[in-house]
């Protein structure tokens, strides 16, 4: 004799609102209906509003001529280019400041985070001061500070600050010499690539050999020598096929060389310094999360201090550090959208700002902008999840 799960004395079925499965189904159907009704309401209103304002929907506007210039472009762009091209230019500028910001924030953050744990009292206090000051001041304020209070008060082009007649800093930006590659330069990146591949092979071979025989070479130093030595050797052997295009003052401005606009400098500085203060805290708490017994056990095995750090502490600390570090990287990329406040031509500034104002295609423009950030978020978190799974603790 089988018993029905919902059987009651007397054999009646319970009313449907007491049946958990049915109740869940009804609740979810109601939710779907409510969301659908809400969306229909919004779509209906939007259509009516767009008709009233005479705006046509669709992505056709992307092929229209933009008609405005952009100060910093990584690809060919002129005011005759299309809005699609504007989108690309903005996206690349966002990625440029985001990528360089992540790099600088990581370097500063790890340095400060490790200094925070230094046995040197003064160094630890200084690092703590850095963290407490910069993470408690809004990023936008820091961007304004660097842009309006520092970079915009620099001298004009005629009285630029010069660093060795090659690098100039003035109110219009930072001027660097630009390397011009002559024919035959291609061999140098090639040797660089070869050196990297050779180092990877060396490290893998060294690890296998150590696992098998217990002997190991100082693979790290050899790789470093290979990666920097080989291209340098190639450079000297080919007779240095590089000339430098020096910036020089002509008239009221500098010509030649690479120009880094002050908007980029301000945004990059503020983003790196601000995010670094959070990364430093993450690094500190990650290292402190490793129990002291780990260090003691490693020392009991008579590992030297360097190896204790490299083989025991850092791999375990990275496991704690990486998830919050990822969200800081994503924050940095999202925060780069503050560029619009000082006019650095990032995606939000040129696309959700200028393009939206010129075309009035609010829905399409905002949707495309948000889609870009969502995609970056998803890709970075997918990569970091993969990396995290690789370093994760193997538990029983």
């Amino acid at each position: 004799m089988s018993v029905r799960p919902n059987a009651r004395p007397g054999g009646q079925k319970p009313p449907f609102w007491r049946d958990r499965a049915k109740r869940a189904l009804i609740f979810q159907l109601l939710l779907v209906a409510a969301v659908a009704a809400f969306l229909l309401y919004i779509v209906g209103n939007t259509q009516a509003n767009l008709e009233a304002r005479g705006i046509t929907t669709g992505f056709g506007f992307l092929s229209n001529t933009a008609g405005f210039g952009i100060v910093q472009t990584l690809v060919d762009y002129s005011s005759q280019s299309s809005y699609a091209r504007t989108f690309l230019v903005g996206l690349l500028n966002t990625l440029l400041v985001g990528g360089l910001g992540v790099l600088a924030a990581t370097i500063i953050g790890f340095t400060v985070g490790i200094a925070r744990l230094s046995p040197n009292w003064l160094l630890a206090r200084l690092a703590n001061g850095y963290i407490e000051i910069f993470r408690n001041i809004p990023l936008l304020l820091q961007i304004f500070f660097w842009y309006f209070a520092v970079l915009r008060t620099l001298p004009s082009a005629r009285d630029s600050l010069a660093f060795g007649e090659a690098v100039f800093l003035n109110v219009r930006g930072l001027y660097l010499p630009e390397p011009l590659f002559e024919s035959g330069f291609g061999i140098i990146p090639a040797t660089f690539l070869v050196a990297i591949i050779a180092s990877i092979v060396l490290v893998v071979w060294n690890k296998r050999r150590q696992d098998a025989t217990g002997k190991r070479l100082p693979a790290g130093w050899i790789s470093l020598l290979l990666i920097f030595g080989l291209p340098l050797l190639a450079l000297v052997a080919t007779g240095v096929p590089v000339t430098w295009d020096m910036p020089a003052l002509s008239g009221f401005n500098f010509r030649g060389g690479i120009t880094i606009i002050p908007e980029f400098l301000a945004l990059w500085l503020a983003l790196s310094i601000y995010t670094a203060s959070f990364i430093a805290e993450i690094v500190r708490s990650g290292i402190q999360a490793i129990s002291h017994g780990q260090t003691e056990a490693a020392q009991a095995l008579s590992l030297p201090r360097k190896l204790v750090l490299r083989l025991v502490i850092i791999p375990q600390a990275l496991r704690v550090i990486i998830p919050p570090l990822t969200s800081q990287y994503l924050n940095l990329i999202k925060n780069s959208s503050l560029a619009t406040a000082i006019g650095y031509p990032d995606l939000v500034s040129v696309f959700a700002g200028t393009t939206l104002n010129q075309t009035g295609q609010a829905i399409e423009v905002i949707a495309m902008t948000m889609a870009v950030y969502l995609t970056i978020s998803l890709v970075v978190s997918m990569f970091m999840n993969w990396f995290n799974a690789r370093v994760a603790l193997v538990e029983r």
Binding site: Q28, V35, N45, A48, N120, E132, N136, I137, I366, L374
Partner: protein
């Protein structure tokens, strides 16, 4: 066998291990590398502090009414002094400032009451702060009732607006965040996926695009006869954005509670809502106060972005004051003042959250 009957008298610790010199040797000059770091650190400190103190205090001008009262050698705090009321209240009418003051005072009393552990009736004060106080504050600030003259929201500004944005965003986000966090842990697939998509969407986009969306797209979404105030639009955007972050904080708290708690409650025959409201949530929210304070700090800093859509919060009003032709060239003073205000708020909140973390963690520490 040599046997000594005399006790050796107690000796003071060796001179090399006590006193400031020994401390310096241990903590500042324990090795050649550390000594170099210490000297470098001292040099950096000297380079940073001496000009800053000279600029901000020794050579600074404090009293006066116009830029002629500033010597120009140091900071011109006269500028901040002259604009102080504006920085705090925005363009709020001068004769109505008492209304802002009452709200500020009420807010401060409520926060102090909730933060000081010894004071009683925490629950009732919290309920009052979350329900009745916002209504009272709105009636007082906006006016139009009880013979109070109306002050339209575009005249609100300064620190007052910053606090309003942060507090309303937070109070609005808390219930939405709780619902989203519960939904994300639900067994119902549609509810769960809906919550996941909602949370990940808002967490994946920058606040500035959310504010753009709120200011540009919200009017398109609503019937044309319904016009929404600019401040309300910003608040809707901030609340939705914040609720996603809040949901993740609360989800973290929900995960930290042993499953046995909910199972025990279920074994006692409690329904889902009873289990959640009486067993799970009280434990979660208590544990999550540090996390909630931390998201509040980031929201507090993020409210500065509303100046991009044309609201004058503390940073916005400072930025506007800097372009006044009578006070050109005092951007450093303006930014230092704004930074100081933000820093005071954020630093004290982060200290409070650290204190709470220590207080709440005592049970787990070995």
């Amino acid at each position: 066998m040599i046997h000594n009957q005399d006790m050796i008298p107690q000796q003071p610790a060796p001179r090399s291990t006590i006193g400031p010199l020994a401390w310096m040797r241990a903590n500042l000059f324990s090795g050649p590398i550390n000594s170099v770091f210490t000297l470098l650190g001292l040099y950096v400190l000297y380079l940073l502090l001496v000009p800053t103190i000279q600029w901000a205090f020794i050579n600074a001008d404090w009293i006066g009414t116009s830029r002629d009262d500033c010597s120009g050698e140091g900071a011109c705090w006269v500028f901040v002094n002259a604009r102080f009321t504006q920085f705090i209240y925005g363009l709020y009418p001068r004769e109505e400032l008492w209304r802002g003051n009452i709200v500020f005072a009420g807010f401060a009393i409520l926060i102090a009451w909730l933060a000081i552990p010894r004071l009683p009736y925490k629950r009732w004060v919290a309920i009052f702060a979350l329900t009745a106080f916002p209504v009272i504050a709105y009636v007082l600030l906006h006016g139009g009732y009880f013979d109070l003259p109306r002050v339209p929201t575009h005249r609100w500004g300064g620190l007052m607006l910053t606090l309003i944005l942060a507090v309303v965003g937070m109070v609005g986000a808390l219930p939405i965040g709780i619902v989203l966090a519960l939904g994300r842990r639900s067994n119902m697939p549609i509810v769960k996926s809906f919550c996941v998509v909602f949370i990940e969407f808002w967490r994946g986009v920058p606040l500035i695009t959310v504010l753009f969306m709120a200011s540009v797209m919200l009017p398109l979404f609503l019937p044309s006869e319904l016009s929404v105030d600019r401040l309300i639009r910003a608040l809707i955007g901030i609340t939705l954005f914040q609720s996603a972050y809040m949901a993740e904080v609360i989800r973290g708290g929900l995960q930290a509670i042993p499953k046995g708690q909910e199972e025990a409650a279920a074994a006692l025959g409690m329904t889902y809502w009873k289990r959640t409201a009486l067993i799970v949530m009280p434990q979660t929210l208590k544990m999550m106060i540090p996390g909630i304070v931390n998201t509040f700090i980031s929201l507090f800093k993020d409210t500065t972005l509303v100046m991009i859509i044309g609201l004058f919060d503390l940073l916005g009003i400072v930025q506007a004051a800097l372009s006044d032709s009578r006070w050109l060239g005092f951007s450093l003073e303006g930014y230092v003042f704004a930074a100081f205000m933000f820093w005071i708020f954020c630093f004290s909140m982060s200290r409070y959250s650290q204190y709470l973390e220590r207080k709440l963690h005592t049970g787990h520490k070995r």
